[in-house]
């Protein structure tokens, strides 16, 4: 294993020379990126650029795709996440994920949030009650559901369902939350609630978000990476990317001149 000279405590992930193939197709090309702790990092780029593929690398979701092959390294602090000693289930506890379509389980609001802990063998009702309440509060959903905790989660609105999914991810006290276009299925009001939530959550969590909305990336992220055809073209402070990007391709994409 390579000596770790560039892993710093203030980074949640350090990616070195990452290539990813789906069979013969190379979806990610020589990606090098450091994801800072307790910041929101946005991945932007046109469809098929590799941004979601890279996002899924951070909790090894690509392991589920048979043809996927990865070269290079991804360090979570001082652990290379593909190492033999790494427990993938444990990794996904530390690195939670929220998807494009809200995907609550067809069970009560309470059971959705308690699900992860129960899987870990927690049965103590007091602990479960406390975690459910704290997680729902952190996800800014508590006030809306506290009187209906036994209601089926599928009856909630789309925006509420997405916040429930965030609460479910939070319940396992992850360090990182991956979000794959978390508001693309939501209306503007539900979107703004999620965006406010993301800004609030970064105090406690590192967030990596894939978004097709340039204005969303500009509004909520601290860092932005622009991807094109599997390459990371530019990665910098969001203020710089949206005000004075270095690469013409970034400029053209964020200005909506291609994509």
């Amino acid at each position: 294993m390579r000596q770790q000279t560039d892993v710093k405590l203030d980074n949640a992930f350090v990616v070195n020379d990452l290539d990813l193939y789906y069979g013969d197709f190379q979806a990610l090309k020589n990606i090098n990126i450091k994801i800072p702790l307790n910041k929101v990092t946005a991945f932007i780029g046109p469809s098929g650029c590799g941004k979601s593929t890279l996002l899924r690398c951070f909790n090894r979701m690509n392991d589920l795709i048979e043809s996927a092959r990865i070269e290079g390294e991804i360090y979570h602090h001082d652990t290379e996440i593909h190492g033999k000693e790494v427990d993938v289930v444990q990794l996904r506890t530390v690195v939670g994920m929220v998807f494009q379509q809200p995907n609550p389980f067809p069970m009560s609001v309470y059971d959705n949030v308690a699900y992860g802990l129960r899987c870990q063998g927690v049965k103590d009702r007091r602990i479960l009650d406390e975690v459910v309440e704290t997680s729902l509060k952190q996800a800014a959903l508590w006030d809306e559901v506290k009187d209906h905790l036994n209601r089926n989660a599928t009856k909630l609105s789309g925006g509420q369902q997405q916040r429930l999914c965030i609460a479910r991810a939070i319940s396992l006290t992850p360090e990182v939350i991956l979000m794959d276009e978390p508001t693309s299925a939501l209306d503007p009001i539900a979107t703004s609630k999620i965006e406010d939530l993301i800004i609030e959550l970064k105090k406690s969590y590192t967030i990596i978000i894939v978004t097709h909305s340039m204005s969303q990336a500009a509004r909520i992220s601290d860092m932005t990476a622009f991807f094109l055809l599997g390459e990371m073209i530019e990665y910098d402070d969001t203020d710089i990317i949206f005000h004075n990007p270095a690469d013409q391709r970034t400029e053209d994409y964020i200005s909506g001149k291609f994509g």
């Binding site: 340039m214 204005s215 500009a218 949206f242 005000h243 004075n244 990007p245 970034t250 400029e251 964020i254 200005s255 909506g256 001149k257 291609f258 994509g259």
Partner: protein, 234 residues
């Protein structure tokens, strides 16, 4: 594939509106100076009449910029272009105001029978000021960083001439107290020219901001140009 064609077109139209306003402002200052050197009242009146039109252009461009921001949510270079245009039009409008003020001084002197020969240094200062505006607008049209930075150097000469002329007019007033009112009028004209130079300076600074993405003040740009010149000489 090129997208957002109508947005591109709107940006192009904004750029053209800016060029039209710049050209009108340049003409206003040129006419004001000509009305001074040739004591041409008709031209002076034309400058005053034209000022309302320039004010209107400023409002129109400002509105275009606000709507572009609201509807198109520009970023990066487009955003810098629009925001710097909003600053530029304020300076251009102020230059036109100074042209109007100069024209009013010309009319006042004429109506009060001040038969003053315009000193050579005032003509020099006026020519430099016109050249500076022309160079600043040229830099804008061409989006030329080097030209914009060179404009920064031109203000030094105008300021030097202004300081020299202030002393000259004080001396003249002491020598001939009866000429005091006419000399004060001339001094005021020089003051307006000096302010025009400052606004042309601002125009250049906003062009540098638009191109480079960071604001550099006059003194920083001047130091940079002086440094480059020194490098060239060695």
């Amino acid at each position: 594939m090129i997208q957002r064609k109508s947005y591109q077109q709107e940006l192009e139209e904004l750029h053209n509106s800016m060029i039209r306003m710049g050209s009108d402002v340049e003409e206003a200052i040129h006419n004001a100076i000509t009305s001074l050197t040739e004591n041409d009242l008709e031209l002076a009146n034309k400058v005053i009449e034209k000022d309302d039109e320039i004010d209107e252009q400023e409002h129109k461009i400002n509105q275009e910029c606000i709507l572009l921001i609201a509807r198109q949510q520009p970023v990066a270079r487009d955003l810098r272009e629009i925001t710097s245009n909003m600053k530029l039009i304020t300076d251009l409008e102020r230059i036109a105001d100074h042209a109007e003020d100069i024209a009013e001084h010309v009319i006042f002197m004429n109506e009060n029978g001040f038969n003053v020969t315009v000193p050579h240094d005032v003509v020099q200062m006026a020519n430099h000021t016109q050249n500076m505006i022309h160079a600043a607008l040229d830099a804008y049209v061409e989006r030329n960083l080097e030209k914009a930075k060179r404009v920064a150097m031109m203000d030094i000469r105008i300021n030097a001439l202004y300081n020299k002329l202030k002393k000259y007019f004080v001396r003249q007033i002491k020598l001939d107290p009866n000429s005091a009112q006419a000399m004060v009028e001339m001094l005021m004209i020089c003051h307006h020219l000096e302010r025009v130079g400052d606004h042309a300076q601002n125009v250049a600074e906003w062009i540098v901001y638009y191109i480079e993405g960071q604001y550099s003040s006059f003194s920083e740009i001047r130091k940079e140009v002086e440094h480059d010149n020194e490098q060239d000489e060695t």
